[in-house]
Point group: D2
Chain length 343, copies 4
Amino acid sequence: MIRVGIVGASGYTGGDLLRFLLDHPGVEIAAITSESFAGKFAYQVHPHLRGRTTLKFIGQAALEPVDVLFLALPHGEAQKQIARYAGLAERIIDLSADFRLRDPAVYQQTYGEPHAAPDWLERFVYGLPELNRDALRGAQYASGVGCNATAVTLALYAAHRAQLIPASAPLVADVKVGSSEAGRSPSDSSHHPARAGVVRPFAMTGHRHEAEVRQSLGGVNIRMAVTSVELVRGAAAAVYVDLPGVAEKDLWAAYRSAWGADQPFVRVVHDKTGFHRHPEPRLLAGTNYADVGWELDPENGRAALLCAIDNLGKGAAGSAVQCMNLMCGFDETTALGFGGVYP
Amino acid sequence: MIRVGIVGASGYTGGDLLRFLLDHPGVEIAAITSESFAGKFAYQVHPHLRGRTTLKFIGQAALEPVDVLFLALPHGEAQKQIARYAGLAERIIDLSADFRLRDPAVYQQTYGEPHAAPDWLERFVYGLPELNRDALRGAQYASGVGCNATAVTLALYAAHRAQLIPASAPLVADVKVGSSEAGRSPSDSSHHPARAGVVRPFAMTGHRHEAEVRQSLGGVNIRMAVTSVELVRGAAAAVYVDLPGVAEKDLWAAYRSAWGADQPFVRVVHDKTGFHRHPEPRLLAGTNYADVGWELDPENGRAALLCAIDNLGKGAAGSAVQCMNLMCGFDETTALGFGGVYP
Amino acid sequence: MIRVGIVGASGYTGGDLLRFLLDHPGVEIAAITSESFAGKFAYQVHPHLRGRTTLKFIGQAALEPVDVLFLALPHGEAQKQIARYAGLAERIIDLSADFRLRDPAVYQQTYGEPHAAPDWLERFVYGLPELNRDALRGAQYASGVGCNATAVTLALYAAHRAQLIPASAPLVADVKVGSSEAGRSPSDSSHHPARAGVVRPFAMTGHRHEAEVRQSLGGVNIRMAVTSVELVRGAAAAVYVDLPGVAEKDLWAAYRSAWGADQPFVRVVHDKTGFHRHPEPRLLAGTNYADVGWELDPENGRAALLCAIDNLGKGAAGSAVQCMNLMCGFDETTALGFGGVYP
Amino acid sequence: MIRVGIVGASGYTGGDLLRFLLDHPGVEIAAITSESFAGKFAYQVHPHLRGRTTLKFIGQAALEPVDVLFLALPHGEAQKQIARYAGLAERIIDLSADFRLRDPAVYQQTYGEPHAAPDWLERFVYGLPELNRDALRGAQYASGVGCNATAVTLALYAAHRAQLIPASAPLVADVKVGSSEAGRSPSDSSHHPARAGVVRPFAMTGHRHEAEVRQSLGGVNIRMAVTSVELVRGAAAAVYVDLPGVAEKDLWAAYRSAWGADQPFVRVVHDKTGFHRHPEPRLLAGTNYADVGWELDPENGRAALLCAIDNLGKGAAGSAVQCMNLMCGFDETTALGFGGVYP
């Protein structure tokens, strides 16, 4: 039984961490912190936890040592106090963007400020188990993943790994995302009358998560665009690329090779017929699964490589718990079995 | 050509007033005020007005005399300065709750505070043209209407007027409403991830608008409950009542009598078949129409009296413009012809 | 390990039965039938099961004996062949309306036709474990539950059981429901462009599920109305009733007594503050939980008794699996632990 | 006063044609045909027309000569009988895909069958007034436009016309569309429980509307992908393209030049701040407007060219009515003034 703490547990990723971890037979949740909600029950902030836990938030100052510490703070906060957190826990999983990039220069270029703890960057493993499983086993420090980066990386991974994508081919990634990506704080743009039913261009000529994709896939020529659509949970990436000379069977071989039984949370969705023949994020709400697929026109070489995830699941809390399982020696799938509902 | 001003024009009702009035051939919009947005173009706050007007918001202090002043302020504000506003315009239409109730005691009981200008209450006509058309013609002062009150009042009106409803029969009104009812300011409960897809009980054992219904319909025993559903614009009332001995033809007669050609914005929707056989608010988004209907089980006397409106249209800005038309001698339907879209 | 079969497994309730049962450690799914989809994989019809099962549909004619048979057929089918099904399995759980009512006369009055197997009616236990737990333990035959009946019955149960509701008081139940209630077959009214964003009166002066509520609660004076709203999964009941002389503490006592630790799937949601202070169906999508609560105005005695469920979970497949657990001696909560996601 | 007929008036485009034409002061609707609904009132099929017209559908066989005939038939039907229709009306506007392409070979390649009336192709003007205004003035025959083609063409038009787009640059167009694009007939994929909340890849490596874009813009290297999102009305195109050396001011100049006062239905939406700074289809529901804009990263030359429309308005019935206005000598904007609602 390991003892875990969650710092910044009142946000949506904190709520999903709690949801997964409360089902984990090897974990005791020792503490959850929130400065705003200290003293309140977790279920007062996370209504889906009503009846499932009597945990209360505490302030960070009251945090005591634990075995694993999840940091679910706003971007920029964890790096400022990473040494303190490391003093409280042998293992840390930080869900923010603070420790995702290995290169301080890339961090500065991406986030516009120098990193506050650049020496720590190389100590963190990028927390996408599908790519870094071995490095995560037994690791002390893991970063979280960017939700949009995850959708794009997993969309590309199989074809990239099989070297089906021409070097330097432009990869145009159009990502459609739900409203939970913006977090729990209300704003004018998240106000329901203003946000309902939109198709709203958000970041159309580049997104900070590109740096993660390039780091994960070795310098691919990725261009991400993000559009908000009517959805709460979900991110769906379509990466448009020319694959001249590639046939269906080549892609099947690449996907089968990349996404075998050793990748328990990735499903290849590529049917000839039916309207669910491609990945769809709605089917994945609440899960740690990623569905990947593609559409190829072999005549003209045009392809769309597809991935759908729950941005709070595989794109945040789900991957983080999966990392914890690998870091602490649990079965990788523990507490992550929920497979989604339909309709 | 009359000159109108709108005080508090940055809210949703202000936006709909502008939408209607910009189409009005007899009106010039002289000024729109907003303390927060003074200096900005109207379309920066109301994106549907882009390309339709170059009006800019001004602060209230800069307001000059006009012929008609619409007040679209938060509840409680208009009554504090009503004398000042009356000095600026011969005619005033106040869309808040401040001047809807005739009796200061009822106002105090309903809103929990004494009225700041009780002498003015009797000078205002309750601004629901379907009930008070004659009083509104040429009137100087009109109140707005409560959106939920409007839906319930119009649901009941025909049967009540025809004396089909037994005196003191309990009238259980269940009103389903969209998110725009809460106004333009973001809050935790209006945050899209929290508000999307809800069926959320809001006020289940009484709602302040009951006082309006009782005032309009002479003391009926009304009980309103309001539930938020997934919808931006719209309010739909179902009033459950026992009508022993009443037949379909009695209700048809009552509705035909109440809602004849002299009521241009009320449609009777009561078909035997089809899935649009009852009123539905979605069909009315953006309009000044109210659809009314009913379902009756003549065997056991149970009835549901129905009304659907757009809470910002017939439930606010639409009725207000209709009042202006009556007060100023325009054709009642001017600028209010939009009939909605489908699907 | 018991072997179960599902007849009519291609519908939405069939899909949810499969979802729950695939997680059940004591169950082997021996066969699933569908005449239309015989030969196809379950996941081709139920996309959320992709990667979770390689089961294929078979035709009913190929069905072999099992320990427990779930019947998820259209209403009216099971009663025609109940003897044949009983020959195939010692235990039967029928999710249709065929065996919910004990009295053949009430059945005929409710469904407009004489029952085809009236002798069987008394052999079935009404399958709502919250009311009939003891009778279900070890039982051979259980009916399913009506989704709307379940929401209304559970809304009323605590106050009714504590005798807080005056005899013969009219109980006006307004039920808001999602689109999955109409099943998997497309129709004009379920076509997305026509169904999206509606508040659509469906059955406003009575609903067939009233008979179930009366049977469960001993002849209460229930009047149900059902309105379709924008939602896929979910049913939310508000029952309006006068409770003169009843205080908050009386309701708290009634609810605590009715919904104690021995009722693992009912949560009392009744907070003083917060916007999730009442039951909401969205929180329950995919779960077997029912959230119950109330709003009371002690000054005038008006109350709204509330319940939210997932119509396919607690309102159909979830309760059916819970019945199976009781009938077969499993822990009642097995395979039903999913608690929902938020946001 | 001209007399118009609509053949195939029961579909969604037929409903929108009626909505616009009923407001047209120079038009009398002489006949509307529907084989399935002959004898029924228009409002029984188009509920938004209730109270606005007492027109009834007739069968095509009963159609008599009119001045203008709108054909709103399924693709492939109009070409079979075009001579007959031409005998009934001097002017024809066909909203299907039958007469959009000038080259019979391109038609055959695009739609997989030889054209049934190839000689007629050159007699039709492609009915997008923003491109073909002069040719449409006084024309006898106009085609409709493809909704997705319209969004993509208008997204590209200004930059293409100003020769800012390098020849043969790949133009990756990602189009997000609402459910009304699939028409009024229910299907498994349009069933609300299956369609709600989706992000569903539909045609990811090419779409038949590409041929229209190439024809309109002179052989650009366009690649269209279409994804269904949660929306009833609307199509939003983002075209990703590299524009090396192009500056903001170049695009401003191109857009101002293309979309001046002589283009009454195109608005340039390109603000520096605010969350409505880019085109959004929700704002355009029910209108004939197209909003265009762009995002440019001048440092790396990446651009997204944007357009949002209502697929049934500017993408179908709105443009058709605008064509009629030009063909018949009306003011181009007659009956098309509706500007949309917000929120």
